[in-house]
Amino acid sequence: AAFSPDSEGAPSTAVTHVLDVYAAASLSEVMETLATGFEEVLPWVDVRVTYGGSSDLAAQILEGAPAAVFASADEAQMAAVADEVAGEPVVFATNTLTIAVPEGNPAGVTGLGSLADDAVATVVCAPQVPCGAATATLAELQGVDIAAVSEETSVTGVLGKVAAGQSDAGVVYVTDVARAAGVEAVAIGGADAVVNRYPIARLKRSDFAEIADDFVAYVAGAEGRAVLADAGFGAP
């Protein structure tokens, strides 16, 4: 019944319901696939995804944005909108850090230790943003003092500089390297020690709570897990 908006219960192909999903920019590709998949299951639903930095999206949600579902790249931002969330957020994916280097690895980076070298122009995320916090934790765990030339505000910033050859190495998430062009990954031994978790939740404001719940379930369920795994995300 949850899947049937018509009182007759007859399946219909006309789009009658719009589901607004706010998703972190780093999820853009998988979320697109997930949305399409979900629309195949429920053809009368149109999933519209708005992407942005998790904190931007959180701010918009706090200002009354018409979001039904929020998929954050970071538990802190989900916590920021806790008042708007219906029920408990579900962690649906995880991610670990890796080193991104320009194609051909010109500086010969071999691991996290290489990043302590001043001669290697390294960019990381600023500690204020999730990827930066994770990087700092990992570096501390491994006793490496990363000599960063820039602390970016987002993963995109790190990847952009690496891809342009502007920097020799950058610390990002595994999935980011997978979907970026012009960069290669140099794995960090023991990266599993620091895991980033992606929560998803329905928001109180959602007009069609059942559909929104179904979407959350779909993303966190088997179909979702498969798509996410394909993109390199880890299981929660």
Binding site: T50, D56, A59, Q60, E63, G64, T156, A163, R179, A181
Partner: protein, 259 residues
């Protein structure tokens, strides 16, 4: 007036500062895929939205910014200096903060947006919001252009026109605005370009929904994450559109001083 020769190397340096990055951009473009990237539905949709909203925003800036320039000109001394500086705020605010500020004002829970929402009018996350965001960031150009032109222009001809029996409206339309021609053109062009390139405030205030609020800069931002080539290609398209519109629409005003 051509100016002294030593201006030339400086002008060249200035031109390089602007042009070299553009050349760099063009050099990185993957021209082979260009056409398919540009003609993708999403690209075209975003471009159409961008053009539509930018033109409306520019019109809005003209309609509101010109009177605002006059009002600013009518102020005196300190008050005017402060008012002028405040009107530059949208230029100074980092775009995202600008977007937040717009949300605080016109968002569903904003100062004006709240009451409007209660009255059933919703602005945020609609195409109207895109236009508002663009008009917000583009307004300073028109205001400052008009005000500075009024300062240069003086008011002698207006006073003479009044002795001939003309109403203020007639004087404005027939004497002042024609004399402000170049300044209005400058203001319009700057405003249009700024509106077309607007990104941060739109994203925050209007969101990024294909066909509704996702203008080309937002589309580029999205594309950058996954497909830098597409981002570059779209940027080039945006540039070409802007250059064409401006080059065609901005008729250089004859530089003849009235005797």
């Amino acid at each position: 007036m051509t100016g002294p020769r030593w201006l030339v190397p400086l002008a060249v340096a200035g031109a390089l500062l602007v042009a070299l990055p553009l050349v760099g951009l063009l050099a990185r473009a993957s021209w082979g895929e260009m056409w398919s990237l540009i003609t993708a539905t999403a690209s075209l949709e975003a471009l159409a939205l961008s053009l539509r909203t930018s033109l409306v925003a520019t019109a809005l800036v003209l309609v509101l910014g010109v009177p605002l320039g006059f009002a600013l000109h009518a102020l005196q001394g300190r008050v005017r200096a402060v008012a002028r500086a405040v009107l530059l705020a949208p230029l100074v605010l980092p775009p995202v903060v600008g977007g937040l500020a717009l949300l605080y004002a016109f968002g569903r829970r904003g100062l004006l947006g709240g009451p409007l929402e209660d009255a059933g009018v919703s602005i945020a996350y609609t195409t109207v919001a895109v236009v508002l965001a663009q008009a917000f960031v583009a307004m300073p150009f028109m205001v400052v252009s008009v005000e500075s032109a009024l300062a240069t222009h003086g008011s002698r001809r207006e006073a003479i026109a009044a002795t001939l029996g003309a109403s203020r409206t007639r004087i404005l339309a027939r004497v002042t605005l024609p004399a402000l021609g170049p300044a209005l053109a400058t203001g319009t062009v700057l405003a249009f370009a700024r509106a077309l390139g607007e990104f941060g405030a739109t994203l925050t205030f209007a969101g990024s929904l294909a066909g509704v609020t996702r203008t080309t800069p937002l589309e580029i931002y999205l594309a950058r994450e996954t497909d830098p080539d597409a981002a570059v290609a779209l940027s080039i398209v945006l540039l070409v559109v802007a250059v064409t519109v401006v080059a065609v629409a901005y008729r250089p005003v004859a530089g003849r001083a009235v005797r």
